[in-house]
Symmetry: none
DNA sequence: CGTTAACCGAGACGGTACGTCTGGTCTTTAA
DNA sequence: TTAAAGACCAGACGTACCGTCTCGGTTAACG
């Protein structure tokens, strides 16, 4: 029962231009300076054309996040500590990037910037939230699998709870970005992974040598 | 060196009325339906009177949060597991309350609601963020002390990192509320505390009997 | 070289509704009670729609004057005295009407009412002033022509100055309305025309019989 | 039945300072930039102190006009043409001064400036209008007497109407300033006086030599 | 010489209009 | 049917200014 498309097809070029324009504006001024009117004008596109694709500014925002967000590949080298560190550092980098969008770099700036705007957008529209979570579903599933694998091969306590462990890791990072505004750098990720693995690894097993200092 | 107050003093009654009106409106319609005009009208107050105290809707919001927020007393009974559970459950309750403000109760509602609005407000205005963090500073300090005390008396491994442990606990909860939208109930708090404390106790010490499975 | 109009055309209906609503409000409460918000509400129109056409309350006012102002047809019957009287009475009627807009009729009310508001509007914005003067340009030109015609056919002294004579006539009326607040009725117009023509008619010529008492 | 004044007397210094400050602000920015708040601040005076003297911005304005207005002495040299010219030129100068208050001098500026603001103030408040007219009452009475005297000694036609003649003269000047925006200079005053006096003199009397063409 | 009434400064207050901005929809003509 | 253009509705925002009120404190004239 194929749906027949009739009439003029939508211009892919318009969609691209809109996203590019939106990205430019977002990067230069942050979420609050991002207004539909300007996006359309800069893309040389009518507002109708924009709204036909993204029914809301918030919907446009998630599309933008999907575009900006670097793909965070989750690798499973069987070295849990290493894999987690890599993964969390990638997340931290992405968040740090987004929190600084549209604002001059100041070391004591604790604002969550665009990250909070995204959270608010997701809170305003259920479908935006769903779309946003769908974006991370795959990679988070991989991360969960990482932990579950480690548990099964004995690198984690048999009663360890991968879902909760993941929350502890990702949650700490998001918490710092969204709530306390404290910096999240490689050193912090290191401490975080150490802390989580310290409690999650089987107590009787001898601690494996850490290859990285 | 007393500071002399000159001019007509600000009416405490006005401030109270404004906050009460704002709270009513927030509870009934959520953050987006909270508009200054209505707050002032409902409080029977001129808009100027409101703006003189809170220069922005976002500033008003933090004042509101401070008012709504139940005081979460941190108690130190020397039983870390119990103290943490109590504390985290209080936080979870508060967040669950706020996330449901202004929206009909639906079990599959993953929206962070007002919580995200607060985060966004804090991200928009540096001073709002600072005020917000100041609100939590005291109680968070107590929670840190809880962990540090446990470490010093040997209920936590000597190399445990109280700051990071706290991030893991609070972070996981905030992460669920703000990012994944998964429910945060007492059972989850239980799992969380269990996971964090799993072998945070020194490995050589005999594990105390856990009464709850 | 036709100019192509693009986009949705402006609604004539909206403009009409706005002017009608504004007129209603002006008539009922005078200039000070005329507020944009109410005009838009009464016209069932968004404020933007109004501001797109008239960028200022003052601009709206001149549009209103143009609408209210009855067309004062200047007729040239070759009888200067008669033509001038007709013309000046029409002006006086219009001014008396406007000065009484929005205020209860009191015989000793010397206020210039809306007339002064218009003058002030014209003084505040150069373009409003220009628009206002443009409105009167045509009919004033006709009045000047009346005087000039009379001069050329010998009904006025050959050295009479039509422009100045016109100022004397119209000026006296406006002066009473705007400055002294004295009433301007038909009897005054009569005296005024008599006074001006007495000095402006050729002294040697026998005064023509006045047909009207 | 003298009214006994009790309590602290009003400070004359305050009144002077207020007027001075108001004048400064009016001269620098025109009527629209004149706000009570600034006047009080500049005068180093509380707003209450100001309102105790002038209940309204408009009332303050007339007080200001009275201060700024140069006294226009009306002299009676028995030479009507000369006396009128002197008087009208003084009026024209005063109006030209006021119309230019607060705006950069541009030759094609047709705005009536503060003059229109005064007219509007007088139209808004009956008592302001009355006060304003009272200011001019004396000198206008003198001007009327000038005309009446000329009539009685035969320099004007016996049936001349001094009140109307005065309206023609003053009215023409005000009309140009308030309505048409045309310049009012000495040459115009000359033409105006010429036009009014043209045959206002009794037609049978020999015309006096006019020294200026 | 103390009372007392009216003043003074500072500044908060109620009220209200203003003009702006933005989001999202609708109506044109053209392709 | 889509596109571009731009008008449209809706409504919140924050500002500005007016004129009033409330403080604590001051300054005469009255008694």
């Amino acid at each position: 029962v194929r749906q027949v498309r009739r009439g003029r097809p939508r211009s892919q070029q318009a969609a691209d231009g809109i996203l590019a324009a939106a990205q430019d504006l977002l990067l230069s001024g942050g979420y609050d300076d991002l207004c539909i009117e300007d996006v359309a004008a800069r893309a040389g596109v009518a507002k109708t054309t924009l709204y036909r694709r993204w029914p809301t500014k918030d919907h446009l925002l998630v599309a933008l996040v999907a575009k900006i967000q670097d793909n965070v590949p989750v690798t499973d080298t069987q070295d849990l500590r290493h894999d987690l560190s890599t993964y969390l550092n990638a997340i931290a980098d992405a968040l740090n990037h987004m929190r600084r969008i549209g604002r001059p770099h100041q070391p004591d700036d604790r604002s969550a910037g665009v990250v909070a705007a995204i959270a608010a957008a997701a809170a305003r529209h259920a479908d935006v939230g769903a779309a946003l979570r769908a974006q991370f579903a795959h990679r988070n599933a991989l991360a969960h699998a990482l932990l579950e694998g480690a548990r099964q091969r004995g690198d984690l306590r048999p009663d360890a709870d991968p879902a909760v462990l993941f929350d502890q890791l990702a949650g700490a990072i998001y918490y710092r970005v969204l709530v306390t505004g404290e910096p999240v750098d490689a050193a912090y990720v290191q401490r975080l992974v150490d802390s989580v693995l310290a409690t999650a690894q089987p107590p009787t097993a001898p601690q494996p040598e850490r290859p990285h200092p």
